[in-house]
C-alpha cells in the first residue's frame, strides 16, 4: 500500500507527468520504491479519481499530450497521515541469501559467476549513490529537509557497502572447484 504514497511524495517534490515520474522512479525515488510506468499510470488514475491529485491545465494545450499532475490538499493530508501511522516492517525476501542456503545443501557449482555479477552491480550502485551524495549534499548542510534526504541516501550507501563487502567475503569463502561438496 505504498506506491500511491511514493507518487504523492514525488509529486509534492515536483509536479510531473506520468513519464516524468517514470524517469524519477528510475533514479532517485525508485532506489527504495521501484515501479514501472504501467503501475504509475494506473495509480495516477486512481489518485485522481480519489481527489488526491489533479491534472494541471496544460500550458501548451493538447500539444504534446503531456499531462502533468499536482497534489491536492487531500493528497497531502493522506500522505502526512500515512507517514505518521504505525506500520509493521514487511517480511524480508532475499533470493541471493536463499540461494546461498540452498548451495549449502546442493553444492555451490555454478554460483560463482552470478555472485561476481551481483558484486559488480552493487559496486556500481554504490558509486552512483556516492556521486549523488557529493553532488547534492556538500558538507555543512542546514535545513531539516536536506538532513532527512541525506539520511535516506546514507541508508542506500551503507546498504550497498554492506552488500559489496558481504559478496566479496562470500566469493572468498567459496570452495575451489576441486573440493566442492556435491551431495549425490
Amino acid at each position: 500500500m505504498s506506491l500511491p504514497h511514493a507518487i504523492l511524495t514525488a509529486l509534492l517534490e515536483r509536479p510531473s507527468s506520468g513519464l516524468d515520474l517514470t524517469r524519477r522512479f528510475d533514479r532517485s525515488i525508485g532506489y527504495f520504491w521501484s515501479a514501472t510506468h504501467q503501475q504509475i499510470y494506473r495509480e495516477l488514475g486512481r489518485l485522481e479519481a480519489e481527489g488526491h491529485i489533479r491534472a494541471l491545465p496544460a500550458e501548451q494545450p493538447a500539444r504534446g499530450q503531456k499531462k502533468a499532475y499536482e497534489v491536492l490538499p487531500a493528497g497531502r493530508a493522506e500522505l502526512a497521515r500515512w507517514t505518521a501511522a504505525a506500520q509493521d516492517p514487511k517480511p524480508h525476501r532475499d533470493a541471493m541469501l536463499l540461494r546461498l542456503r540452498a548451495a549449502a545443501v546442493v553444492g555451490t557449482a555454478g554460483l560463482e559467476a552470478d555472485l561476481r555479477r551481483h558484486l559488480e552491480l552493487h559496486r556500481r550502485q554504490l558509486a552512483e549513490y556516492e556521486e549523488i551524495e557529493e553532488r547534492d549534499f556538500p558538507p555543512g548542510e542546514d535545513s531539516a529537509q536536506a538532513r532527512l534526504q541525506h539520511l535516506v541516501l546514507r541508508a542506500g550507501i551503507e546498504l550497498e557497502t554492506f552488500w559489496t563487502r558481504w559478496l566479496t567475503e562470500a566469493l572468498a569463502g567459496l570452495p575451489a572447484a576441486e573440493d566442492r561438496p556435491q551431495e549425490p
Copy 2:
C-alpha cells in the same frame, strides 16, 4: 519464483510436514524468505504434482493426519539448477525509507514513535541472530556447509546491525517538536 525453492531447501535439510515447515519458516528460513502456512500448503501441492517431492508413507498410519514430504531427485536437480542460474536482483522496496523521504516534505510529526518501535524490533532480531550464532556456530568451524550457513547468518546480523545504527541516527536527527517544519 523462489518459494518452491525455499521449500525444497528446507525439505532437503530435513523432511517435514506442512506445519513443521511453517514453524521453520517462522524461524530460520523465514528470516530471509518468509511465507504463511497457506502459501506453504499450496506450494507443497504443486511441488508434489510436478514430481519434485513426495509424501512419506506415514509411520503411524492416518493417526494424527500429519503428512511429511521428502525431496525427489527431480526436485534436487531443479534446486541445483535454480541455485546456479543467473538472476537479477529484485528491485528494493523499503517503506520506512519512503516514509522518511515523505517526512522531508510533509513534516516529521508523529513519526518518532514508530521509528522507536522499529528500532526495538531490529534490536530484538539482532539479539536473536546473535544467540543463534553463538549456539550453532562456535569458533573453529570446518565443513563447507557450515561456512555457507554461517555466511548467511552473518548477513542477517550485519543487516540488523545496520538498521539499528541507522534508526538510532535517524531518531537523533529528528527535529524537536517545536521547530518542526510543517508546510501548509
